[in-house]
Symmetry: C2
Subunit: 439 residues, 2 copies
């Protein structure tokens, strides 16, 4: 499957000389597995809050990047990294206070049953570790994910990340289930989703495969952003538990206040995961990630095997993550995500009144999908329009992307420092772009 | 297998109250898969050059940590991280200069056939990516490693990291070969090593498994440190190539000037890898790693699949790695590793004249193994003495560990900022410790 919003090298002619040269160097040095965004890729040199600046000093409103979730170059995080990097950076085979304070603080935001945190550097590593532990704890091997899930790029995790496309084979012990979709699928989202999961469990039984885990991105980002109704996950999770397998909440996308209603996407659904993986916004860009889990799950694994991740949970990474938690609290980031998110949704719904192409507006907090359709009757995805809108916004200095099986869901996922003023600018620019793209 | 130099919780009584409390918190929060070093774990709070300081302000000479390879908190790296973190930290889906300059600079240190670098956050991820690419490029699945190899902790890489112990199963398509060992094995190291590899290839043939790669730590750290004679790898590599598989040099331990003779461990052997993985010292503690490779290998993979690592190759990680290369050059680190390493080896050989327990001193540059034996005739590994020496040194404020199948090889692997004065202090303390441990 072609990556949504990927640069097509056939368009190099549209670039300036300096960017074309950078692009040639990049192809030569990094090779063909790397992809750039946009028909005209961006050469960014500076970031500040919700703004990114290119090499010519042009400012872009960032409505896409969820890693620098507090805003680009947040001073509190930058300062914490600089301070700790100058003081000590070792690893978890010596005692250190900060990694423990960080684990305590993360666990305090989660259900009491989750008692340990293990630290990695990336969300991929966190989900890979979840797999190792789930297999050890259940004795099973089977993994259930949604049809267009993305969970990471290690060998094992890529096998259950079907959004990487047909070029990356799904594992033999992996089953795909339809994503929850109240817009195009059965409006009884919970029962429909559970039926898919139960069918996968039945396939496992028939194939003699013991299931190990159901792992779900709590906002279903690559599946096209599906958040509602809150609580719809429970029935599927019950079925998975009854089959002896675990439920892993992948919070790499939905975590750290993004959905507004709660610190974690799974909390918004009121469900109890066996493990919770976290990453991207955890260090506001610094490579830090982790896995919270029920202690029982790692008891045998830990007695038999050690886990050491050289950089995972080091003092600098821990300081960066602590600064993120401090800023989240001090700046009321989650409430802000809720308020600005609701404001943005209201604005998008007003926009929908003027634009038939907007079939659906959905999401939670500052993770919003705008589903573009050829017509509201058929609800047929308009991938072509989404591509034009994404690139039209880029030309108008607003950064965004798209997702979903139809490549037609405009994905709105700005830094959480996003304000109402930013939302107004975005809405006005989107209105212009939609008008221009449909002219 | 019990981890060498792991803390045994049964000894908690020997700790002060504050450390015991920290330890209890740690067990509660991080769980049982984490291991600490030493009979009496260390609580470190500050690092500077080759020195680490505990919470009471006691200084320890670091003769172990190869991650902070330029010395702890090297100002050039700290400054580069702080500067770039305040300026921009995005990802490789936008154009950015530093990641390209870094790739160029890394490739300039390698054979011309290696044309691309792909960036990850950890050595585990780099070796995991090497596996994905080797499998795609060769159509094979088989992996050959040495008996006590360590290559990382992802699901796939742990399957070919037998040093993780019996609790972590070796993959079905993985074959272990005897490590090169001129001390206890056949003194014709190259032919003996090649015979092991050819036997593994023959097993693959018999089992109908196509081989994908031979991956070797260029200094065989966890196998007990085996460096000589330079060039001995060639025969095994030829056999692997003849069977259609690739040779991957794992430079996570030996790279970045550590062996003194060359920037990379494989260059010291004069061999040509198909891929080179790098990690640990690459950012002097900042989480950055990568994989250099022959462009042909990723051509099909890159056309079919994309590779994106959210934090991999980001501007801050790239700036950290560039600062490391700058410092390596400006401070003549590789030559220093060669000179101080030779000085240390000479001192250790003098020490051997007075201590029968030192059976062998070997290594390259500042990666040295001191093989402790019960007697020189039998060459039987003295694990017990090594444990006492490692902990005796810790009590004398010198940090070190041990490795090898017998757990008896004292592993000397200090920051490369190590001086002759540091070496003298280490040698004197080791002499005292050996005497005390054998009294």
């Amino acid at each position: 499957m072609h990556m949504i919003n990927a640069y097509d090298p056939a368009n190099a002619g549209e670039l300036g000389d300096a960017d074309r040269e950078l692009l040639r160097r990049r192809e030569r040095l990094l090779g063909p597995a790397y992809r750039l965004f946009y028909a005209r890729p961006l050469h960014l040199v500076r970031g500040d809050g919700v703004w990114l600046y290119d090499a010519d000093g042009v400012a872009y409103l960032d409505v896409y990047n969820n890693v620098a979730s507090l805003g680009h170059c947040h001073p509190r995080v930058v300062e914490a990294i600089a301070r700790q990097a100058a003081l000590l950076n070792t690893h978890t085979r010596y005692l250190h206070e900060t990694v423990l304070a960080l684990a305590e603080r993360l666990l305090a935001t989660m259900p009491a049953a989750l008692g340990h945190v293990m630290f990695t550097c990336t969300g991929s590593e966190a989900n890979d570790l979840a797999l190792r532990i789930a297999r050890a704890a259940t004795g099973g091997t089977g993994v259930i994910v949604t049809k267009l899930a993305y969970h990471g790029v290690t060998s094992a995790v890529a096998e259950f990340s079907p959004s990487l496309g047909d070029g990356v084979a799904t594992g033999r012990d992996v089953r795909l289930v339809p994503a929850p979709d109240g817009y195009r699928g059965d409006p009884a989202v919970g029962p429909a989703f559970a039926r898919g999961v139960m069918a996968a469990l039945e396939e496992f039984r028939a194939a003699g495969i013991r299931p190990a885990m159901l792992i779900l991105d709590s906002i279903f980002s690559s599946d096209g952003v599906h958040a509602d109704p809150p609580g719809f996950l429970q029935e599927a999770i019950d079925a998975v538990r009854a089959a002896g397998a675990l439920y892993v909440a992948d919070e790499v996308q939905a975590g750290f206040g993004r959905t507004g209603a709660a610190m974690w996407g799974f909390l918004r659904h009121g469900v109890q995961p066996d493990m919770v993986s976290m990453g991207k916004p955890m260090g506001n860009g610094h490579p830090v990630a982790g896995l919270a889990l029920r202690p029982e799950l790692v008891r045998d694994f830990g007695a038999r095997a050690r886990y050491f991740n050289t950089f995972g949970g080091n003092p600098v990474s821990a300081a960066a993550a602590m600064a993120v938690l401090d800023a989240l609290e001090a700046e009321g980031i989650q409430d802000r995500a809720a308020a600005v998110g609701a404001y943005l949704v209201a604005g998008l719904r007003r926009l929908a009144a003027a634009h038939e192409a907007i079939g659906d507006v959905r999401g939670a907090g500052l993770f919003i999908g705008v589903d573009l359709v050829t017509d509201r009757q058929s609800r047929a995805p308009d991938r072509d329009l989404a591509t034009r809108v994404v690139n039209g916004l880029r030309e108008r200095r607003v950064l965004i992307s798209a997702s979903g099986p139809g490549g037609n869901v405009v994905k709105i996922r700005p830094p959480l420092a996003f304000t109402r003023d930013n939302a107004d600018l975005f809405l006005a620019t989107l209105a212009d772009t939609l008008t221009a793209c449909q002219a």
